[in-house]
Amino acid sequence: MFDLLVILIPALPLVAVLLNGLLGNRFSHDAAHRLACGSVGLSFLSAILVFAQTLRTGVVREVMVYRWIFGGDLTVNLAFLIDPLTCIMLLVVTGVGFLIHLYSIGYMHGEEGFTRFFTYMNLFMVSMLLLVMGNNYLVLFIGWEGVGLCSYLLIGYYYGRVSAAKAATKAFVVNRIGDAGFLLAIFLVFVNFNTLDYTQVFAQAGQLSTSMATAITLCLLIGAVGKSAQIPLYTWLPDAMEGPTPVSALIHAATMVTAGVYMVVRNHVLYDMAPVAMTTVAWVGGGTALFAATIGLVQTDIKRVLAYSTVSQLGYMFLACGIGAYTAAIFHLMTHAFFKALLFLSAGSVIHALAGEQDIRKMGGLRRKIPWTHGLFLVGTLAIAGIFPLAGFWSKDEIMAHAFTHGYYVLYVMAAIGAFLTAFYMFRLTYLTFYGQSRVDHHVAEHIHESPGIMIGPLVVLAVLSVVGGFPGVPPESGWFHHFLHPVAAAAGEEPAHGAGVGLLTMLMVIATLIALLGWGLAHYLYSVRPDAAQQWAARAPQVYTTLLNKYYVDEFYDLVVVEPTKRLGLLWDWFDRSVIDALVLGVGRMTQSGSALSTAFEKYVIYGLINVLGYGNHRAARSWRKLQTGKVHHYAAIIVAGLFILVHLILVWWTGSSGVGVALK
């Protein structure tokens, strides 16, 4: 029964994918979305039951489905692992996923390709569930690339737009770079442990040398950095905002991008053995948290601000992993899923109300026109800014407190600055969108409307979760959440309750709150009290402003050093390939005329010479290959055959002479 429930979790959305994918064009929109949402809803129910069972018995279960790849010393099963970590991920993925599916019914209403949208969304659910449920690296990898595919499909949903098509390709390829690193990690794991099952790998982890553990975990990190949009592979995520807003909420905020964090926590046994890798994770995380926040300060697209805030928040989770606060990382993953989904979806509600407008310079004063959306967005903002006692406060504070109490002061300061910036740009976003004078287009302004209940309903649930979602983790480091996850996510030798004094922790909480309030205050001053001040500040440091606005020119830099050289190399090699053929076709004479560079010499002496050596002798006598088919075929064929005959003869003579069987030949 339990096994069946476990299998049903990914199987239900899969059935929906097949039905909608194969027969979708015959379904009505209602049938399509009922199937899609219903399957995810049932999947969520199954997840709850599985979670309840695990909570009650505390037993870690493995569920085998079938033998997938096997032969020699390798056996990979399609099998699932159900432990507390998986349970939390299951609840987040199916729960938030279900709400976003419901919301999509309203948001995507009347869109072209409605059924296609839900098919992709369900396929995403399947992939994400495989990712978090797999009991070995390869099943995780199916999900890992599967979510990348769905992300590709959904970013490119409006494929008629060039920017969407480009963003989709970019997302897939950048993710693939990470995936390649992840593959290398898998190979290293197999070479060292001769298995890919987590339980066996972690049980034998002790025999691993530190350098090998470092190699494995750094390769894993490459994968995580790609999927979770960390420095240096974060560039695809802001572009991914080309997809419909529910996609941004589900994939590019709440679930898929957290896969890297999940994976690191899942492998924490290996990370614990590799201090160098841990330090790298922490600094990548801390650096990204701060870096992305600075870009978020000046962006003008409502979704892009949220995208950079996602990159930044994921940085906090990596930072937590890097300092060994795995539970805190998962805790922040969960609360972030709530409030970021809320923010994205209410941003979607704004966009919906404004008929597709995403530029915050063309918003403003929407508070009264769409009060529900305003209220919900505000809750999300308060939560992400870390205002007491909302969800984001508890999880972010825990990460920062852990950094401080464990002596990572520099990282703490980075995180604190990041928190300040986060509060600032999120309230900036709120003020620019909902307060002040309306800057909305007249035509659009006439049609501003609050979103329908099917969209607001899920938002209310998410808002409630954003408010109370932090309480399972209270008190910090010894809440229910920590005890539940302790068996799978505790760093080696760590106890759930930490020794730091209550006084210190309280002080840190106060500081965190003050930082958030400071950010809020500054935003209030700049965008509410003195609306012109922001522009003055920007004008005072134009270079800083443009650099931030252009995202530090990182995309341009990558284009310059990676994409363009690859294209150039391709062109060069293609020319090389063709000119060899040309040389063969048109003869040496023309080749030596047309090219004088080194490359020509290379063609002539290496490639052409090789062909020459292989039997096409006498090419100097050949005016052109083309002649072969215009009358001189016999002539050349005769030369070739004669040459080969001599060659064969020489080989045979050598052979028989040296092996002593010449007699036998006679």
Partner: protein, 532 residues
């Protein structure tokens, strides 16, 4: 051995000559529709026969199955010896499967000399099946060469490009040139056997039979020489960089049907697994040979992918993509371990579904625009959603996305290569990134974005016959990707035997017993296989 599988019925001979007999029947027919239907019937019957062989085939066995052996030229030790094992049997099925699809594809895309076209196609099928079922090396070589005749005419007469004559001749000359060296290698194997047989008083003293050749030791330096001779034959056919320059031309200029056969049926790399490795194990695993092969493989992967990256023409892109994929196959073969060999074998089969699928799609595009160049497309996904969808599915298989067949093969190859030396795996992985880049970039520009300029009239989406091709390929892609078990079981026994053969080498085989390694395992596994 194992004739009892078909109660003594020579099923492989039937399989071998059915298409040729069909071609002769076609000769007698006059009406075009009748010819097409007859061709479809013949290739269909062939596919059914191939399926019978696959179903009756004992999995998890290294045995040569369905053997048929008759003397042909006894004084020289040449025999008509047919059999299949886990390495070759899947190719037989693949060839039969693809021929049916090519017949379907050609149905209304070939417009002139229809009778001759289908005759040539069926004759080609016979020669390719011959390559896979031949155990005698001369027999193998005969089919290897005979294949060129129908190929030549198919490219020359039904090619789509203006340079098709040149391409046809180039293909034939390149392959012929390599073949001569291969023939020398084969003769040297025979001579080596002869020398051994004479000193050990074994009859007969001449043989070209693969299984008998396995029983004698071959000195190391001779092995290396023979290896490189055979290598040339295989490298031109495969093709392996830098012997590849005929491929883009033939795939561009030739008909799609021929492109499917040449890109989908990996004869060259099959030859390495079938003959080079088991006959020349010491040479294959010697550092010199292995390193050169691995470097060639990695060069092909990167070179092919990067050149493919900038191609604006789909067929040329696919040609270089094929070269890149062949690099993967060679990488796996010369990793010389279980995963590498298994992955390569599976990948060769996989490419028969994915690369050919992409060529079919190129053909579908060609039918609509008389071009596969990007300039003829752009934003057509809206007009041809089905075509775009199958393009993506098959493209993702080619990229090696988990859940498709491509992943299973590519993963095993890279794992095997990584086990051989981490650097091979690490460089090979770059192909995974580049593969995604070149294919998706083309896809983006051809399918996405606004409708291209000057593309006024609407394109028709996939027609019924085209849909049959796309769907059947997709089914295979997901089957192997999600549940590869039947395929892996078919190949595992033979791959294991090959690994053991590589470990023991030929020296251990010089005891005079007949096929000690293979026969032993075969017997063991037949019993085991029956029990399951």
């Amino acid at each position: 051995m194992l004739e009892e599988l078909t109660f003594g019925f020579p099923i492989l001979s039937l399989l071998l000559f059915l298409p040729l007999m069909g071609a002769m029947v076609l000769w007698l027919l006059e009406e075009d529709d009748l010819i097409k239907n007859a061709a479809l019937a013949v290739s269909g019957a062939e596919l059914i026969l191939a399926l019978v062989v696959l179903l009756r085939f004992l999995p998890d066995s290294a045995a040569m199955q369905f053997s048929e052996r008759l003397p042909w030229i006894p004084p020289l030790g040449i025999s008509y010896h047919l059999a299949v094992d886990g390495i070759s049997v899947l190719f037989v099925g693949l060839t039969a499967f693809l021929t049916v699809l090519v017949v379907l594809y050609s149905w209304d895309t070939v417009r002139h000399q229809i009778k001759a076209y289908f005759m040539a196609l069926l004759a080609l099928e016979t020669t390719i099946i011959g390559i896979f079922v031949s155990i005698d090396l001369i027999l193998f070589f005969v089919f290897w060469e005979l294949m060129l005749i129908p190929s030549y005419f198919l490219i020359k007469l039904w090619g789509s490009g203006v340079e098709r004559q040149y391409a046809a001749l180039k293909y034939v000359l390149y392959t012929l040139m390599g073949s001569v060296f291969m023939l020398v290698g084969i003769v040297l194997l025979n001579l080596n056997y002869h020398a051994w047989a004479v000193t050990h008083h074994v009859e007969p003293t001449y043989t070209f039979d693969f299984l008998q050749l396995l029983t004698v030791p071959i000195p190391h330096d001779k092995q290396v020489l023979i290896f490189w001779l055979i290598f040339l034959g295989l490298a031109f056919k495969a093709p392996i960089v830098p012997f590849h320059t005929w491929l883009p031309d033939v795939l561009m200029e030739g008909p799609i049907g021929m492109a499917v056969v040449l890109a989908g049926i990996k004869l060259g790399t099959y030859g390495f697994m079938r003959f080079s490795l088991p006959l020349l194990p010491e040479a294959s695993k010697s550092q010199g040979v292995m390193k050169v092969m691995m470097v060639l493989a990695l060069a092909a992967i990167v070179y092919g992918a990067i050149v493919a990256f900038i191609q604006p023409d789909l067929r040329r892109l696919l040609a270089f993509s094929s070269i890149s994929h062949l690099g993967f196959v060679v990488l796996g073969v010369f990793a010389l371990n279980f995963q590498g060999l298994q992955g390569s074998l599976l990948t060769m089969i996989n490419l028969g579904f994915s690369t050919t699928g992409l060529f079919f799609l190129a053909g579908f595009l060609y039918t609509r625009r008389h071009s596969t160049h990007l300039s003829a497309f752009g934003g057509i996904a809206k007009q041809v959603p089905l075509l775009a969808t199958y393009f993506l599915i098959i493209g993702l298989a080619s990229i090696g996305l988990p859940g498709t067949n491509g992943f299973v093969g590519e993963f095993l190859i890279l794992l095997g290569a990584f086990k051989a030396h981490w650097i091979y795996g690490a460089v090979g992985v770059s192909g995974v990134i580049l593969g995604a880049a070149y294919l998706l970039w083309y896809y983006e520009r051809a399918m996405f974005g606004p409708l291209g300029q000057g593309l006024g009239h609407a394109l028709a989406d996939l027609r019924a016959r085209e849909l049959v091709i796309a769907v059947s390929l997709s089914v295979m892609i997901f089957w192997i990707g999600l549940y590869p078990s039947p395929f892996l079981r078919i190949m595992n026994g033979s791959v294991q035997a090959l690994v053991e053969r590589l470990e023991r080498g030929t020296v251990a085989a010089g005891t005079g017993e007949q096929t000690p390694v293979l026969a032993h395992r075969a017997h063991q596994n037949v019993l085991g296989g029956r029990a399951q």
